[in-house]
Amino acid sequence: MKKVSAIPFLLMALILSILLALSMGSHYIPFTEILFSNKWSEIILSIRLPRIVNAISVGGLLSLAGLLVQNLVKNPLADPYILGISGASASVQLAVIALGVTLPFWLFVTIGFIAALLSLGFLLLLSSKRTINTQNLLLSGVVIAFAYGAIISMILTLSPAASTKSMLFWLMGDLSYSTTLFYPIIVLVVGSIGVYKYHRELDLLARGEFFALKSGVNVKKTNLVILLTTSVFTAVAVSMAGTIGFVGLVVPHLARLLVGNVHARLIPLSALIGAIVLLLADTLARTVVAPIQLPVGVFTAFFGVPVFIYLLRKRT
């Protein structure tokens, strides 16, 4: 609702965060040497930069998925993690890892996407019978997420001990497997542009499906677009970094506080804030007890829990 655009500030914050992330780590590299010296190019180009790109794309993807799914189920407490969409992707992908099968990245993402889509679709099918309201929908999502938790625990228990730790790490969110650099950022950019086309529909849908329908929105088509995009975004994010909570929940709320229900601005804003938040959280995760690296999910939770409680209190 404010007239001043937050986007230039956020772009600046993103650049600063990138510089910070380049310089911090188990070995500190001063800003000046990042920019003007080749001495550290090995560390920067092959370790830190890929990880930064990964954090930015995963943060953006998760925030957008959160923004979309909150619109879809008309509940501000929804996000891909809470509704079990991440869990669905993670379960099947973890099963693949546990079986020792090596799949090409696109196929790995695709099976995650199908699992996410089926899980979210099933959830929505439950609600379309009118027997379930949005509160119960959320509750069903939470319960389904628990089921995935159980599947994941089972896979972990049955896997050989050597791989368990890295799997566990991945489950708590881990950005260190930055092997395929460009897919996620391409998905983020292309997906954002695709979703942006529907920004007016999303504005009206946020006011309720009946309202959107009577105002001329093709509700079914728009919901299908949201459903597919959310599943793709979640699956790609999970493939890259495991299940990271709270980013998808909290970031859209922050964005809404800044600009209100205007998706033309919420979409770029959520993606940017998400990128910054996850990048900073990951930088912390790498440096706080360096050289030991903590899962980034630990820090998104540390950040997310107080912010979310604050937001919730402010709303009421």
Partner: protein, 245 residues
């Protein structure tokens, strides 16, 4: 403008309406009267294309209602629902702007229409206020302004006077009367006085899926009102209600 032929409606296997046929023309201001649960809202939603009908046809501008695409339908028909939940944080101006969704006009043209609707509903001082912070009556005015901004040929209003103060009810009815020169307006209400004063035609639910339709003076009679309400009209009410008939 709107042709209804042999329309039958039912909800959960209960028949609300049987073989309704009527034509609604531009310049007419229709009222729908009936007891609670008679099917007034269902009929209104059906005319808006938001409720399936078991039998019959509804044509608007010569085209079957359920063959229109979403945008064309919203350009032709607008609906003010009875109750609207609003937990959304958006400004009054934004909320009213949603009424312009179906029209592809330039932002400046849209803004002019939006601001005019806001002004007509006397909301100019609240333009940038969040709709979460509004009173019930103010929110109702925002909803009506949204419908005005939608500027459709047919306006369907479900109890538009709810939550409004007496002075504004009067103003709104004046406004609607003026609008109905160039549109067709169909309104569900319980305020018989206003119907008498402003409406030209009436659809009256008389129980057991029987519906009376026609010009106001032909249908709004003591006999029919007694039938509709199912009680003998008290003498005082009779006098004040029907003195114009």
């Amino acid at each position: 403008m709107m042709e209804i032929k042999d329309l039958s409606l039912s909800v959960d296997e209960q028949i609300l309406l049987f073989d309704l046929s009527l034509t609604i023309k531009k310049g007419e201001f229709w009222a729908i009267l009936g007891k609670n649960g008679a099917g007034k809202t269902t009929l209104l939603h059906t005319l808006a294309g938001l409720h399936n009908y078991s039998k019959g046809s509804i044509k608007i501008g010569g085209f079957e209602l359920n063959s229109l695409n979403f945008l064309t339908r919203a350009q032709q028909i607008s609906l003010l629902p009875q109750i609207q939940e609003s937990s959304l944080n958006c400004s009054v101006q934004q909320a009213v702007s949603y009424g312009r969704y179906a029209w592809h006009k330039s932002d400046t043209a849209n803004l002019e229409i939006i601001n005019q609707a806001i002004q007509e509903m006397e909301l100019s001082d609240l333009t940038q206020k969040s709709i979460q912070a509004l009173s019930g009556g103010e929110l109702r005015k925002v909803e009506i302004a949204t419908i005005l901004a939608q500027d459709s040929a047919v306006m369907l209003l479900d109890e538009p006077l709810n939550h409004l103060d007496l002075a504004f009810r009067y103003k709104l009815m004046q406004k609607l009367k003026g609008l109905s020169q160039n549109k067709a307006i169909i309104m569900v209400t319980h305020d018989i006085q206003y119907v008498q004063q402003y409406c030209s035609h009436i659809i009256m639910f008389c129980g057991e899926s029987r519906v009376l339709t026609g010009k106001i003076n032909d249908v709004l009679t003591e006999k029919n009102l007694t039938k509709m309400l199912g009680i003998e009209l008290p003498a005082t009410l009779k006098e004040s209600l029907l003195k114009n008939i």
